[in-house]
């Protein structure tokens, strides 16, 4: 097989939705995501109402954490290591009451129904550290909704989460 060549090229990296919280909320959820694209990119600049909080992700309202697994590598300025978890998308790139954390999540082949869903996350918080994560949702269903939340806290006003679609 040879690759499909798009002529003319197809403009993509399409903005699908952006949510900025006006008040506190338990989560930000994108629903009715069309299967039109191949990958999704979620960009989050989250804030918590209290203290440092890690960010998590659920797909299609699947809240069973054993259906998710991820591997993390992190550095905090004095040491570094690797660990595993479930639906985390940051480690030292956790959010707090200020606006200094940023996370970009690449959700690959989200509309394919022959693969588990693999995602790659890069997250930073300058005062805490930096991390990279590879994760998987053990399900072949196309992703139609994404819930972004804090593992042990509440999202604060000013949290902004954007979703983009990438064709392939």
């Amino acid at each position: 097989m040879s690759p499909t060549v798009y002529s003319p090229p197809v403009a993509t990296y399409t903005a699908l939705a952006t949510i900025t919280l006006a008040g506190s909320a338990s989560d930000v959820t994108f629903s009715s995501i069309p299967a039109t694209y191949r990958d999704l990119i979620l960009v989050a600049t989250g804030k918590s109402t209290s203290g440092l909080q890690d960010q998590g992700i659920n797909f299609n309202a699947d809240g069973t954490n054993t259906n998710y697994d991820c591997v993390i590598m992190w550095g905090n300025g004095s040491t570094y290591n690797s660990t595993t978890s479930t639906w985390l998308i940051d480690y030292y790139g956790s959010v707090t009451t200020d606006n200094t954390a940023a996370t970009i999540l690449q959700i690959m082949d989200y509309s394919a129904t022959d693969k588990h869903k693999t995602y790659l996350s890069r997250s930073n918080r300058a005062a805490s550290g930096v991390d990279a994560i590879a994760g998987r949702w053990s399900n072949t269903a196309a992703i139609t909704s994404i819930k972004y939340f804090l593992i042990g806290g509440t999202l604060a006003a000013g949290t902004t989460v954007s979703l983009y679609g990438i064709e392939a």
């Binding site: 499909t4 798009y6 690959m108 693999t118 590879a134």
Partner: protein, 205 residues
């Protein structure tokens, strides 16, 4: 075909156009465009994107590769080469840092490799677990600049029977503009069915 009236005011409305697209929506392909994609319907040893020099004249500055890769190798992970312009000279160098769930490490993988930059542990394989594919996002910077060696950066990872996340760098020590990119399974196995590799172009301002 009926002839419609043509009035002086419709011709002389004082608007000037510098394009034959006058009155029509301007064509724009955006700043981030899908250029080529391969989704395998059966196992295959190699995938090549050709005629990439045409994208230089179209105004593209950088490339991005987005991939979901599994191989037929009888193991729980694999690597794949990224080879530019078919070059098999000793012109490739690279480093990586990796987390495996319990420790982190970094190493120099090659300083004068001959087959390409290889994306270390950038693929799942036959014993990785059903439905698991490794994800990679690869940025290829300034592929048409003939004053620079070509640099790539990679974020890749997967979970399954083993789990890995890696940041990798790569260098093609050649100043030629890129005309082709070939992906090859490192151990001589095939890319498995449903493997997907897509090429995107980022426009210059």
């Amino acid at each position: 075909m009926p002839i419609k009236s043509l009035s002086q005011s419709s011709l002389l409305n004082f608007e000037k156009y510098s394009s034959m697209l006058a009155g029509n929506t301007k064509v724009s392909y955006g700043a981030y465009d899908l250029l080529q994609t391969e989704v395998l319907t059966s196992a295959q040893a190699e995938i090549t994107f050709n005629s990439l020099n045409t994208y230089a004249t179209a105004g593209y500055q950088h490339f991005q590769i987005r991939a979901m890769i599994r191989t037929t190798r009888n193991a729980n992970n694999s690597n794949y080469y990224v080879r530019f312009n078919g070059d098999t000279g000793a012109n490739y160098a690279q480093h990586y840092m990796r987390g495996n769930g319990s420790a982190m490490e970094s190493a120099n993988l090659q300083t004068s490799g001959t087959q390409g930059v290889y994306v270390y542990q950038g693929a799942t394989s036959a014993t990785s677990g059903t439905g698991t594919y490794a994800a990679s996002v690869i940025d290829i910077l300034d592929p048409f600049n003939t004053n620079k060696y070509t640099t790539i950066k990679v974020l890749t990872g997967f979970t399954g029977s083993i789990s890995r996340v890696l940041l990798e760098s790569g260098l093609w020590m050649n100043t030629n503009a890129i005309t082709s990119i070939t992906f090859d399974e490192y151990f001589g196995a095939n890319f498995a069915e449903d493997t997907r590799i897509s090429l995107y172009g980022l426009k210059a301002a």
